[in-house]
């Protein structure tokens, strides 16, 4: 199973240059050609209002990539810092941060995301990113905390403390660099999870209103599933292949780093 990295690279390239490759405007309305099967002009066929599905997918890749990158970067950074701090400090700081993590993790993520998104009238990309970030950091914090607890006892950390290094220096120079392996593994898998979460929100009608999303396309496709199955098929395939790619890449990273 060495599919992971190629799939991730293809996704990254499409997210990067996809919108420029798109043969049509993803929102161009052409009512005479709605729900057409794949043809020479529309390689993947057309959807609701005659939009070109290939163009929607290419623009959707950009949205998925942007949301994934922002959410993973933010949650991994914040989660690692919080977890490392909690594990390394112990005591009250640890207890307080752990209860907060328990609270957020005990709750179905999607329900929390929906509750947050309802705060805005027409949610945009930044609102979706925010909604996904709020519960998203917890898993990183748990991993970082467990690693920090282990590293606290490690000889090289104790040696640094004995040499008179400040706590902040020990944390930044010795503890955090040594717990990044499992964090990178988690971030790789989580990227796929974020893409899926964005698609799910869009599928439910809560996605960014200022973007073109795979999930929204899948929602339209599901509505006409029995008559025009190609719309749901291509949009779902894009989501599934992306999630598969990041899952496999995460597994590969675990074998190397974990």
């Amino acid at each position: 199973m060495r599919l992971g990295l190629p799939l991730v690279i293809v996704f990254a390239l499409l997210a990067l240059v996809g919108p420029w490759l798109a043969p049509h405007d993803p929102q161009a309305i052409d009512l005479a050609h709605a729900y057409e099967a794949p043809s020479a002009t529309h390689w993947l066929g057309t959807g609701d209002n005659g939009v070109d599905l290939l163009s929607v997918l290419l623009h959707g890749a950009r949205l998925a990539g942007v949301v994934g990158l922002l959410v993973v970067a933010f949650t991994a950074t914040v989660g690692t810092l919080i977890g490392a701090l909690a594990g390394f400090s112990g005591g009250r700081v640890d207890a307080a941060l752990s209860s907060l993590a328990d609270l957020l993790q005990a709750f179905p993520g999607l329900v929390l995301n929906v509750a947050i998104l309802a705060l805005v009238d027409a949610p945009g990309v930044r609102h979706v990113v925010l909604a996904l970030c709020i519960p998203g950091w917890v898993l990183y914090a748990r991993i970082a905390r467990a690693e920090a607890l282990r590293l606290r006892q490690a000889e090289f950390v104790q040696a640094a403390v004995a040499l008179g290094a400040t706590r902040a220096r020990v944390l930044v120079r010795h503890v955090i660099p040594n717990l990044l392996g499992p964090i990178v593994v988690q971030a790789t898998t989580a990227f796929g999870g974020v893409v899926l979460a964005e698609s799910t929100l869009s599928f439910l009608g809560l996605g960014p209103s200022d973007g073109v999303s795979w999930g929204a396309l899948l929602d339209q496709g599901s509505a006409v599933l029995l008559r025009f199955p190609h719309v749901a098929l291509v949009s779902g395939a894009a989501i599934a292949l992306t999630v598969l790619g990041f899952n496999l890449a995460g597994d590969a990273a675990r074998d190397r780093l974990g």
Binding site: D102, L110, L119, S222, L225, N247
Partner: protein, 309 residues
Amino acid sequence: MLGFLARRIARALLTAVGVVSAVFVLVRAVPGDPAATILGDQASPEELAALRARLHLDAPLHEQFGAFWSDVVGGTLGRSFRDDRAVSERIGEVLPDTALLALAALFVAWSIALPLGTIAARFRGRWPDRVASTLAVAGLAIPNLWLGPLLVLLFGVVLRWLPIPGDDAVGWRGLVLPSITLGTALAASLTRQTRAAVADALARPFSIAAAARGLSPRRVLLRHALPNAALPVLTIAGAQVAALLSGAVVVEKIFERDGLGSLFLDAFFARDIPIVQGCVLVVALVTVAVNLLLDLLYTAVDPRVRIAS
């Protein structure tokens, strides 16, 4: 033991109260005016004010908060903005649907994952293991919002074995595809956990000693490895409750089923705040209760957990 029990229960309740209070505040911060949403564009300012007063939307936040908790204690959970019925009644109507779906999905997940994970661990590194791992990876990658439509196309449209979503999809025949859709991702992660737990137990000294005493591999697996692998597998069952309830929102939409998820979503678009709060409260209580139950079960099975905490 009693003190331990009391501490666990108190902590679980505190978590539930924390979540519900947070949601109360979050939902109140919605910029849209629920009264305007309910009455539409044509409403006069007087009508709007009257409705706001009737719904207590003009009361200070702390009074609304107090009223909300007295509704919770009173058991009604407040009244719907739209038809003035008790929220608990509305939720009570749809809760069995979601519970049935969740239990069916759990059944699907466990009956796939336990045998598959155990076989994978027993034949580690050989072809059954590779087949199981591939299935698990595929199951994790396929989103339920795509699996649902695919299953409908295959079994509802092409093969015509099962009803397509809608009015005909009642009874157990209507439950098959939704529960497979909801259960697949759970099955995939549970397969991985089971495989890891059983493989770990098989490598422990007690298993090796049992094999050295001449027990058949089958007996080592069933009598020695599996009981010891049960604990780590139980642990992730708690995390699955959250996944089930999240998934139910999606699956109920795909299959046009009544349930907590569709009620929640519908109430959100209508800004029916009491229903939204009620759903979140019920979800929080269910999650906390199941996790508490698993915690206690875990402690009962393995006394070491109790001593450590």
